[in-house]
Structure formats: C-alpha cells, structure tokens
Symmetry: C2
Subunit: 144 residues, 2 copies
C-alpha cells in the first residue's frame, strides 16, 4: 500500500511553494532542491494548477505560487486529486468471479473514507507551521 | 493507492477456504476458481499459514483450512500482515532532503491507523455472512 510518486511529488511542490510566500518559485529550483526531473514535476504541477492548488504564470517573471490559502489546502483532498480513481483493490487484476457479489470492496471503501477523513484534519498550513519543516525548506532554498 | 496483489489474493484464498468449512481445499482448485497461477498462490498461502490464518497439511489428503474462527480474522490484520512495512510514502524514492524534519509522514501514519481501525470492524465471518458472497463462492466451487 503505497501512494503514487505523483502524490509524493505533489506534496513536495506544495511545501516548497508554501515555504516561499510572496515570490514565484520555478520548476528548475524545485527540481534541483529535491533531485526530481523537471518532466516529472511538470505533470504534477499541471494537475495541481488544474485543481486550483497552484497558480502558474509563464514567461520571464513566471513561476508558481500557491493558488489558495495553505490553511484551505487539506492533505486528504490533495491525495484524492492526485491518486485519481482510488480503487484500492483491483478486482479486474485477474477478472474476479466474485465481482458484484463481494462485500470486500465496500469494506475497503469505508476504510478509505476513514483514511481521507483523518488526513483532512491536517492542512498544508499545519505542515508548514512546524518550525522544523519550514526551516528545513528554507535551508534548501538558500542552498540552491 | 492500491494494495499489492498479494493482499488481493490473500482475501480470495481466505474467502474460498471460509466458504468451504469442513473440508481441505487445494491450491489447484483455488487456482482454477480465480484464474490465478499456483505459484502466486503458494507464496500467499505460505504467508497466511505462517501467521496462523490458514492451517495446511501435505500429502494425498492435504490442502488447507482456516487456521482460526472466521470471526477472529479481522480484515485490517490481514492487510497489515500481507502489506508488510506499510510505508505509504516512500521518502527514499528520491532521497528527500526533508526526511526527519517533515510532518507529512506522521500525518500519513495517523491516516493509515484510521484505515486499519475501520477495516478491523469487519471480519472474514462478516464477509462470508453475506448470503450473496457465500453463494457466489459456492457457485464457483460447483463449477470447477
């Protein structure tokens, strides 16, 4: 049970942007800070912008900033957007003869709702509010 | 966010064994019922037996039966055993400079506990108790 790398990277991008309020950060500096290719980041940023979590601008003074107040960016919502379908069991992996008669899927769906509800108790502001995290990102920012 | 196929297959094996109380079922019949290779099933059965969820016997009259009362086999416990480490974010995917200073991991750990707690409200007995599921497996059993 692991989240996709897109979700993982999405949080790194949001935390980086959130730790640098008041200026547009670039794909290049995020790429260098985390050692993640710009191509991978571009897809993640596109999705985050589409959902309003980021606001992007092109050109010389371009870059990205948070699209919303970090207190309104909830962790579970980001996971849900990045993970897409969230089908936790793949009933079609080997077409399962139980499909449609099996109670397991609904049990897993309830588990998943509990997971997202718990994650939504934390916002990006909570993550950034931790002094350690924030200074961690600042150190990174200064290093690049 | 998807469970491994080992977890998926583990539930299929447990449900098959649970739907056939009073007799030892064989790897071959489970393999045929679900269209899953015996090699994949063998690893899953080994793990389930190691944890006491199944009891296996070799030889001519061999096969497998549930190792515990189905009411005491909780869905979350099976998931936890099959998924192993349960590290939901892979902080080493690209060695992350935030490791050790990042609050995200603890938020995800709380989410995961909520997920497992919710799953543990259901047992294998609950899954088998659903008439539809039970008869679904019976139909399968008769068809092989």
């Amino acid at each position: 049970m692991e989240l996709t790398y897109h979700t993982d990277y999405a949080f790194r991008v949001l935390m980086y942007a959130g730790a640098n309020p008041g200026r547009r950060v670039t794909l290049r500096e995020i790429s260098e800070a985390y050692g993640i290719s710009k191509e991978h980041l571009r897809k993640v940023v596109h999705k985050l912008a589409q959902e309003g979590f980021l606001s992007t601008a092109k050109g010389r003074a371009g870059g990205l900033v948070l699209g919303r107040d970090p207190a309104s960016i909830r962790v579970g919502d980001v996971v849900q957007v990045m993970e897409g379908s969230m089908a936790i069991v793949n009933c079609n992996r080997q077409p399962c003869p139980l499909t449609g008669r099996c109670a397991l899927k609904s049990v897993f769906n309830r588990g998943q709702r509990a997971f997202l509800t718990e994650l939504n108790k934390a916002s990006l502001a909570d993550l950034l509010g931790e002094e350690r995290t924030f200074s961690g990102i600042r150190i990174l920012t200064e290093a690049v």
